[in-house]
Symmetry: C2
Subunit: 228 residues, 2 copies
Amino acid sequence: MSSQNPERLVYSHVAELARAFGHEHRLKLLDLMSQGEWSLDELAKRSGISVANASQHLQTLRRVGVVTARRAGKNVLFSLADGPVFDAVVAMRALAERNIAEVRLAVTDYFGGLDDMEPVSLDEIRARMRDGNVVLLDVRDEAEYRQGHLPGAIHIASDELEASLSRLPRDREVIAYCRGRYCILSSDAVALLRRNGFRSRRLEDGYAEWKAANRSEASDETTGLRTG
Amino acid sequence: MSSQNPERLVYSHVAELARAFGHEHRLKLLDLMSQGEWSLDELAKRSGISVANASQHLQTLRRVGVVTARRAGKNVLFSLADGPVFDAVVAMRALAERNIAEVRLAVTDYFGGLDDMEPVSLDEIRARMRDGNVVLLDVRDEAEYRQGHLPGAIHIASDELEASLSRLPRDREVIAYCRGRYCILSSDAVALLRRNGFRSRRLEDGYAEWKAANRSEASDETTGLRTG
DNA sequence: GATACATTCAATTGAACAATTGAATGTATC
DNA sequence: GATACATTCAATTGTTCAATTGAATGTATC
């Protein structure tokens, strides 16, 4: 028993939210935070923009309630807020991939690739991990892996992969993953592994999507990957 | 074998897409088109903005591929493009409803309402339509109803409802729906019906959401509502 | 309490966007 | 083919947003 027309109120906020998503740098920052929490300095470094600029974009995201911050020592750590934040990004990405030809082409070009490059889905990897006939390989950097990773995944950062091939089995398929759907690290890793005689494919989605999916499924204990 | 880093390309397009959603008028236009196709004149009238202004916003939406247009007689009819356009709007709305307190309050205030006002879900109505113990009532205007409606729904425009109460049964619950989740017509209709001694509740989502859901479920013949 | 350092604020400049107006285009109908 | 009318284009003005810089704040650590 207060506001008059809810539609206008809702849409003015939705529009504000959409504008908050409407900048490349902010999408990149959200992408980074989908891996865990980071200081401003770290976010600036990883996104390749200045500290002041990153700070302002982060404030924009905080203002609309999609990013939260907490202090830890002398740093403030930024992370995605609770709620379906990443899901909204995913919905926009899905729309872009479906309706914008240039995006569709770039993605299939890069990731859909050759027939035997057919990426593996999260559902598929679940079953195959149970059977134990695959190795899950996380090729993100150390800090990202430490903040969280798929159950049962081993970690070799992409820039150390070539020197660490002996740690990988040749009798099982190596499924590589990285930050998310549009991260090229795992794609490059698969190419490297194949050049060296391994059987390898890419996980279609990455840590970000896995985490978002497991968040939505709340605390349903049966949904995570199991190492066996 | 063309573009370098797909991430930046994807995100620049996603950002453009997000900005296209980032205006109240455009969200309203998308809302209207979620009911069907309309001429520019009709869209301007229904959204309450000038024809020239509506045209420009529609061009913005066409440019990013979320709206299409076809000529019919002396009018151009605008409609949502194929693909998960409405789904993206829904994801943003869900985020706003969850993360922005003002929105959450306004919505529960208006639609969540009293205990026995508990809105009915699309899933629930499916089962109850089969049992035949409810009447589905579409209170949108004639033109909207004609462009498409839920299977089995009867139509009484909201501004004719009070004069047409005799057409409704008193021994079954009347489930009213309108354009979508944030449309107040069905909410008002429920209030009117209750004042006149009917048992009545509101469908939580409206035609837009139903149509989007049935579109996603492709041509799965088992998913629509059945009249019996 | 003083220092160091991470983050935020404030002020500036340039660029992009929103709305309005009036003219121009293009298609149907006569 | 001429006319009527729906839609789009072009030009304008005011507003909002992006990025940079340098100063200011605030918290941890010594």
